[in-house]
Symmetry: C2
């Protein structure tokens, strides 16, 4: 079975509708890793949206330089996350091929080990980038127009979800690795990112929601 | 300023890359509500993916009917959520126009009240659909091939995030309404959905992660 994306090149250039359809289908890619990177890109985009509606306004002139600096970085992070949708798919295809090798092939275990190590790289990088997205959202939430706070709050929710969903895709790969030192180093990094950034993103989302609902 | 979508019709037919770019831009739509619906659609799609890789396998013949039933419903929910991306944009544009009316126009308050009521409808419906997505993911997680559990876990994370992000878009609209009875009925429904379904989605995601990491 082939998906829409095989005819079109980059998975990130699929329409949202077609990406969701291919994710649903019996296709090796896109999978949870690509979906995580896309959700992270939406979190970065919401940070940019808050900045773009704040920039250039007289009332916020005092923070214009900070807004512009965050905008520049959020754009870089969004592009990185969009690129990670494709990188995740590219890294997963060799795993999918290795699983289809005959079980009695003596090379299978080694091919699968190498492919699985490579498949860790996109989700752990998605986690690193999402952690930075959460930092930028925190900063943007402190300076942007109050009209845009709900978008910062949504961005924080989506940034946290992308971080957590990407971690599932790290763990599903590291748990298959024979090289335990390699696996545990990645798991420690993933656990560290979850412990540090999920509470920060949740606190930001809660602050924004309380503010919107008049409890802040 | 116009976005890519104005030339192309439906926002859901934008590429993932272009949707994220338009979300980031100084454009009234898409906003947090559309991003929430898209993330919900990805959660529904991951439920379908787990089902599509389980269906038709001899080992899972005993649950084939349940898998097919969940697959049929998850597809309906995914299409609904993709439709809600567009519905959210359509409902937000009148709000955006009302905000641009002169402040001294005596009709402004009433036009804005009506537009804001309409703007609540897509995010509350996104919440209702995501609650059902979480129920289907729970059921799928209990019967699908263990190879697909990580996708169920990612789906649960994204379903919860979509529910929460959509709630921010309910509250940002209800908090502006003069009709407090109308606003409070929606807020009660949104709070009820959050209280009932966020813990269920988080428990599912935690169960899956523990299983993958060998702690289950």
């Amino acid at each position: 079975m082939t998906g829409t994306h095989t005819a079109e090149g980059s998975i990130a250039d699929l329409s949202c509708r077609a990406f969701a359809a291919d994710l649903a289908a019996k296709l090796p890619v896109p999978g949870g890793g690509g979906a995580s990177a896309l959700v992270g890109a939406l979190g970065a985009a919401l940070c940019s949206m808050a900045g773009n509606f704040t920039a250039g306004k007289k009332r916020f002139a005092a923070v214009e330089d900070d807004v512009q600096r965050i905008l520049a970085e959020a754009e870089v992070l969004r592009h990185k996350l969009i690129g990670l949708i494709e990188a995740d798919a590219a890294a997963f295809e060799p795993v999918s091929r290795a699983y289809r090798m005959p079980k009695e092939d003596p090379a299978r275990a080694q091919v699968l080990e190498v492919a699985t190590k490579t498949a860790c790289s996109a989700p752990i990088e998605t986690m690193r980038v999402c952690a930075r997205v959460i930092e930028l959202l925190e900063e943007m939430g402190g300076i942007c127009s109050p009209m845009l706070l709900s978008d910062v709050g949504c961005g924080a929710v989506l940034g946290a979800a992308a971080l957590r969903a990407a971690s599932v895709n790290v763990f599903v790969n590291t748990s298959e690795l024979a090289d335990r030192a390699y696996a545990e180093a990645l798991e420690r990094e993933a656990d560290g990112l979850l412990e540090a950034y999920i509470p920060r993103a949740e606190a930001l989302a809660a602050r924004v929601t309380d503010h919107i609902r008049g409890r802040g």
